[in-house]
């Protein structure tokens, strides 16, 4: 009887000790990252806001069917963040003499694409950015990663991005406010790196085209910095050395606007160097980790900015498909603005 009691106590103690790390991790994340407004099981984030009504309302932006390209070419040599790389390899063996198949002499080609997922025009998913090991919706990510991918917060959980896009032209805003400071490496006007785009700047950009943000929108910020991307590879080093972008105040304000995503013609959307040298990519935390709002980087914005300038209309139907890439933290995307 006594031995049995000791056994039970031992089992209980073992269970208690074994459960401590998991319990601690969860407790920690609850103090580090806010809960999702869509519940404890939410892995979707801000695309929850893209309801049928939102998509239907966005469709009203299509007036004449004009499609504006909003992504950059995806090719070797474009500016890449840190150690990222791309390499394409063409397989064309059937083009070799005697390689064609059958009497119909069928030939084929295919590619091997070696790359990280966050290259070119791309979407940051929920699993991209966290605080310590705490990610969106208080997810203790250490428990949900394998050698190959994440078992939580992957792109497969995202809903549609079929919503209204709103462009703000920061070049025009800064020029109008007589505070424009450019970079000589840009062939078209661009804001200088380190320029902090504020809430007031975004509001001025919206006012310029008489637009108000509404829940479910995607905000696209034209800074002109993307002109350096277009010059790849000549200006890659300048492009990567910093960027104009939104600061913390603007990031927090965008969260309050309940948008789905914010994109820009820069590699990180937020201002680099940041406002506080001891903080690392803090606006990524504000948007992605805390609010589930996606960040879309290296968006080609110049064509839509020109279109808006010409037509005095800065809204469009935002067309972007994100692959159901299971367990991925992000992926390159193609975006079209339809008017």
């Amino acid at each position: 009887m006594r031995r049995k009691s000791l056994f039970v106590i031992a089992v209980m103690l073992t269970s208690l000790i074994a459960s401590v790390p998991a319990a601690m991790a969860q407790t920690d994340c609850k103090t580090i990252v806010p809960a999702s407004p869509w519940g404890p099981n939410d892995q979707t984030g801000a695309t929850n806001r893209v309801t049928p009504a939102v998509t239907k309302a966005a469709a009203a932006e299509i007036k004449d069917g004009k499609v504006v390209v909003m992504s950059y070419p995806l090719t070797d040599g474009i500016p890449l963040f840190g150690t990222r790389f791309t390499k394409t390899i063409l397989t064309a063996t059937t083009l070799a003499p005697g390689g064609a198949l059958g009497e119909n002499q069928l030939t084929y080609m295919e590619d091997t694409w070696l790359s990280q997922s966050h290259v070119g025009t791309h979407l940051d998913g929920m699993g991209h950015i966290g605080r310590k090991d705490c990610y969106y919706n208080q997810t203790p990510m250490g428990k949900f990663i394998t050698q190959n991918n994440m078992t939580k917060l992957g792109l497969e959980h995202l809903k549609s991005f079929a919503t209204r896009g709103v462009l703000v032209d920061m070049v025009k805003v800064y020029q109008a406010a007589n505070k424009f400071k450019g970079n000589s490496a840009c062939k078209k006007p661009c804001l200088e790196k380190g320029t902090v785009i504020t809430k007031a700047d975004i509001e001025a950009g919206l006012k310029m085209y008489n637009v108000t943000l509404r829940e479910g929108d995607i905000l696209i910020i034209h800074t002109g910095w993307g002109n350096l991307f277009e010059q790849f590879p000549a200006q890659n080093a300048v492009y990567n050395s910093g960027e104009p972008g939104i600061g913390k105040e603007a990031g927090n304000w965008l969260v309050s606007q309940k948008i789905v995503a914010v994109g820009s013609d820069t590699w990180g959307v937020e201002v680099i160097p940041g406002e506080d040298p001891k903080e690392a990519f803090i606006v990524h935390n504000i948007l992605l980790t805390d609010a589930g709002i996606h960040i879309i980087e290296n968006v080609r914005t110049d064509l839509m900015a020109a279109e808006a300038d010409q037509t005095k209309r800065a809204t469009f139907f935002f067309s972007m498909t994100v692959p159901k890439a299971v367990g991925l933290t992000g992926n390159f995307v193609a975006i079209e603005g339809i008017r």
């Binding site: 963040f81 840190g82 380190g194 902090v196 160097p273 406002e275 001891k278 690392a280």
Partner: protein, 351 residues
């Protein structure tokens, strides 16, 4: 008199109307007042002059690896959060130029002058001229009489390095013969290196009170580190060596000297400064790097000249707003190691 001020009686409906109007005014007034105040606060911008020590390319400051450009850039970035327009001057380490800069700033009617010049005599004249013109002054590293001073603390920085080495020696080599080496341009009074060396000596004795300390003076030539240190190493075989380098260039040179002598297992080095020659971006793979935790360069003490703007402009804005500022504000020196370098200096440059 009381009768004259009395409001005539109003019919009930009209009285209610007046009451509602008054209530509306009561609610609106604070809002209007707030708006006016906010507009005033937003409109008030200050013009601040920053006269840098020198911006000559390649010239390093204060016995560290930082340049005047690093200091200037920190002001450019830090000012983004303040209602301040900066006017930049280069003192060129030249008293005449410094005085000419002050005259220009007075003519521009700047609100505040931040003086960075290592010439006390000139700083006295600068202070007198600015005070006469009613312009506030804030001094960096070398005092201007009666002006708040922001300054590094070389002795504390040296002590941090010495204590780190002493703690390392006590932890890893307890009971083994160990010497301390204080290495660098030890007589550089202008850069207050002797204070740094004194602090390092004090720190080395913290956990190893009986340690013998050998000063090795490079006369400011890092190329002298290898031959001078080689002599010390040769005369101390089978001895552990804790090297308190007075700057990062000397620390890196000491590492090479220990490698050349095959004495890496016998050495530990701490530098001073923490400029980008020892830490870098995500891909730089510099000496102080999370992926290089085994380096015998245990760390370096941060001087943060590349953060001066972030440290000094908050003092400036407080002075401009009429708030009290301490007469002396000191850099919070810290030991930067592979374990905290990415926290202290998060990499953002993605090249």
């Amino acid at each position: 008199m009381g009768r004259a001020l009395r409001t005539p009686a109003l019919p009930g409906g009209r009285r209610r109307c007046v009451m509602w109007v008054n209530l509306a005014w009561l609610l609106l007034l604070p809002w209007l007042g707030g708006t006016v105040l906010l507009a005033f606060a937003q409109e008030r911008r200050y013009t601040v002059a920053f006269a840098n020590l020198t911006e000559e390319p390649g010239t390093t400051l204060e016995g560290t690896g930082f340049t005047g450009r690093d200091v200037r850039e920190s002001f450019v970035l830090a000012v983004r959060r303040y209602p301040i327009d900066l006017v930049f001057y280069d003192n060129q380490r030249d008293p005449r130029k410094a005085l000419a800069n002050v005259e220009d700033a007075v003519a521009r009617k700047v609100d505040l002058y931040i003086q960075y010049l290592d010439d006390p005599a000139t700083n006295i004249k600068v202070g007198q001229r600015l005070r006469g013109a009613g312009v506030g002054v804030l001094a960096i590293n070398t005092p201007v009489p009666d002006a708040p001073l922001y300054t590094m603390d070389n002795r504390v920085a040296g002590r941090i390095a010495g204590e780190a080495l002493s703690e390392y020696g006590g932890r890893n080599w307890r009971g083994l013969p160990t010497i301390g080496v204080v290495l660098g341009h030890l007589q550089a009074q202008a850069h207050r290196v002797p204070e740094r060396a004194q602090g390092a000596t004090e720190g080395l004795k913290r956990h190893l009170p009986a340690i013998r300390i050998i000063p090795v003076d490079t006369q400011g030539n890092p190329a002298q580190v290898a031959p001078l240190l080689a002599k010390v190493l040769a005369s101390h075989p089978s001895t552990k060596i804790l090297v308190a380098a007075m700057d990062d260039a000397s620390a890196l040179a000491a590492k090479i000297a220990l490698e050349s002598a095959g004495r890496v297992p016998d050495g530990a080095i701490v530098g001073q400064g923490v400029d980008r020659s020892v830490h870098g971006g995500m891909n730089d793979r510099k000496e102080i790097d999370p992926s290089n935790r085994g380096s015998i360069v245990v760390g370096s003490v941060a001087f943060y000249l590349d953060r001066y703007g972030y440290e000094i402009l908050p003092l400036a804005i407080r002075m401009l707003r009429g708030e009290t500022v301490a007469p002396r504000t000191v850099t919070a020196h810290r030991l930067i190691t592979a374990a905290n370098v990415f926290i202290e200096y998060p990499p953002y440059d993605m090249n």
